[in-house]
């Protein structure tokens, strides 16, 4: 086993453990912490693939800004331990079916693909910030601007909703 492969499996395991722990933790803060673990190990995976810029942005935006807001809100509301209800009937049988279907789909596509895990590391192709900015601001400029417009509308909507009604 080569060193990158070992790192890959370690990070992947960490991400999966974090994701499972996110669901089974009882306290919201612990769930948020698990989510941070997932985000950071995903950033590690990007780094392994040679996408340095994406990795750094992943940590800054998701690990830093967004998760800090999550933690902040949980702390502000001082949310306590949650009661876990027994598994809902809707999620029971159809959920299991979906799990099996998804696992089958993923394993089938892995089995069909010819690329091995080692080739995932493509150093240098996506790392260049120049190429990413070229894609964002030239090739996909309209979808990108539309998305930012959408986010702006969402922010404005939230502000309007949060405003006190005029008496």
């Amino acid at each position: 086993m080569t060193a990158p492969l070992v790192v890959f499996f370690a990070l992947a395991a960490l991400a999966v453990i974090g994701a499972v722990s996110l669901i089974i933790q009882k306290h919201p803060i612990h769930s948020a912490l698990s989510l941070i673990v997932v985000m950071v190990s995903l950033a590690g995976l990007y780094l392994l693939m040679g996408a340095e810029f994406v990795a750094a942005v992943q940590i800054i935006v998701y690990g830093g800004a967004i998760m800090v807001l999550f933690v902040f809100v949980i702390m502000l509301l001082n949310a306590g331990v949650e009661e876990h209800t027994s598994i809902s009937k809707m999620a029971g049988a159809p959920g299991l079916l979906l799990v099996v279907a998804l696992a089958g789909f993923v394993s089938a596509s892995i089995a069909r693909s010819t690329a091995s895990v080692q080739t995932a590391s493509q150093s240098g192709t996506m790392s260049s910030t120049k190429e990413i900015s070229g894609m964002i601001f030239k090739d996909f400029v309209y979808p990108f601007e539309l998305t930012s417009f959408l986010i702006l509308v969402a922010i404005l909507g939230a502000t309007v909703l949060a405003q006190r009604e005029k008496s």
Partner: protein, 409 residues
């Protein structure tokens, strides 16, 4: 054994560098507390620590021993895992960030390996971004400490700090965009080298002149990020007992303390690198006589330490201080007589001097400025710093565009 050494040389060098840097940073941290207490004391017409050792020089040692041997009670009702995780997170992230700082331009050639000063390899493409990523994660140490302590004052401290850090991180990141545009790279080495385009300009080639707005925003936001006066609301003693670290004692408290001082050092390094030319000399390149400046400072300082030390009757004063003075003076003499070594230390010398100046400014502000009120803090960050840093980005972009269009290039 030799083949093992040869095969893993890079790894071994990195481990040695990590151990060395850890030792240096922790020592500097300890003496930074001494420096801070001395400077603040003199600002307030006091003597500061002066009992333990000459000039209170052994005070950090005494403090360290005290931190190690104090009782370390865990308060009732804390969230144990998070309570222990928080100081660990704060300290490890603060120490990681300093690994990305390059401390000198040239590598040392040793056993056939180029050894660069600084732990990260010289070609880290995302240097500044990685630093911001680590800074962004640093919020958790403080926020989680406040939350897990099961104490309302701690919780307030944690809440304040996360709100403050989220607000000022925006301005911090936006304010360096101008510098990045001018350098065209995220690499800290490239950013420094971009300031050396005109070797004869010396101090006037640095980024601080065209980026004065960016520097203002960066410095203010950086102080807020490190929770220092006048932005130390998360640990405002008069309102919150001790803020987020109220419930921490002994070494866990020391870990927060070390983390804070380490991030002060990192921010000073960043200020120096981004805006003040890093390891570049402030003098024009043709003034080669300025290369003797390190010796001209070290030799008199070493002699003064010897003269000062022998007046004391304690062992530390009588023996160790003159010894240290001799070493300092000898270093200065070595730099005079070995031109190769002298050339090599020019970069680190200027970098460290500038870092020291910034650390002094930090302490100076602590001795001078009163604390902000919370609403002032928020409106200052959102209504002044952020717009100014955005204006700075726009101005810089237009200036670069104009230079590309009409400039000689």
């Amino acid at each position: 054994m030799n083949s093992f050494l040869a095969a893993n040389a890079e790894l071994l060098i990195t481990i040695v560098k990590i151990v060395l840097l850890l030792f240096i940073v922790l020592t500097v941290n300890a003496y930074l507390t001494w420096f801070e207490r001395k400077v603040v004391a003199h600002i307030q017409s006091r003597w500061g620590p002066h009992r333990v050792g000459p000039h209170g020089l052994l005070q950090p040692l005494a403090d360290g021993v005290k931190f190690l041997f104090k009782e370390d009670p865990t308060p009732a009702g804390v969230d144990r895992f998070v309570y222990f995780l928080a100081p660990l997170l704060a300290l490890s992230l603060a120490l990681t960030s300093i690994a990305l700082i390059p401390f000198g331009p040239d590598p040392i050639r040793l056993f056939g390996h180029d050894i660069y000063l600084g732990i990260a390899p010289p070609d880290v493409n995302i240097g500044i971004l990685a630093l911001f990523a680590i800074t962004a994660m640093g919020v958790y140490g403080v926020a989680l400490a406040g939350w897990s302590s099961n104490n309302k004052y701690s919780l307030f401290g944690g809440l304040r700090s996360s709100a403050q850090m989220v607000s000022y991180e925006l301005a911090l990141t936006m304010s360096v965009v101008g510098v990045l545009l001018m350098a065209g790279s995220f690499n800290l080495r490239d950013i420094i080298n971009a300031q050396a385009h005109h070797p004869q300009w010396g101090i006037f080639g640095w980024n601080v002149w065209p980026q004065i707005l960016g520097f203002f925003c960066f410095f203010v936001a950086a102080i807020a990020e490190t929770n220092r006066v006048p932005f130390d609301l998360p640990e405002a003693e008069q309102e919150l007992v001790g803020g987020f670290h109220t419930e921490y004692a002994s070494f866990k408290f020391a870990m927060f303390f070390i983390a804070e001082y380490t991030s002060m050092i990192t921010v000073s390094c960043l200020c120096t690198i981004m805006f003040f030319g890093g390891w570049l000399s402030p003098f024009p390149a043709s003034w080669t006589f300025t290369h003797y400046l390190p010796s001209a400072i070290l030799i008199p300082f070493g002699l003064w330490v010897i003269w000062d030390g022998i007046r004391y009757e304690t062992i530390f004063g009588h023996v160790i201080l003159p010894g240290v003075g001799t070493v300092i003076a000898a270093l200065g003499a070595v730099f005079v007589f070995l031109p190769g070594v002298n050339e090599f230390i020019q970069g680190p010398f200027w970098l460290l001097s500038k870092i020291l100046v910034f650390l002094f400014v930090y302490v100076w502000m602590r001795g001078t400025l009163p604390r902000f009120r919370y609403d002032q803090l928020m409106s200052f960050g959102w209504k002044l710093l952020l717009p100014v840093s955005i204006v700075n980005v726009i101005l810089t972009s237009f200036a670069i565009l104009a230079k590309m269009e009409w400039g000689g290039k």
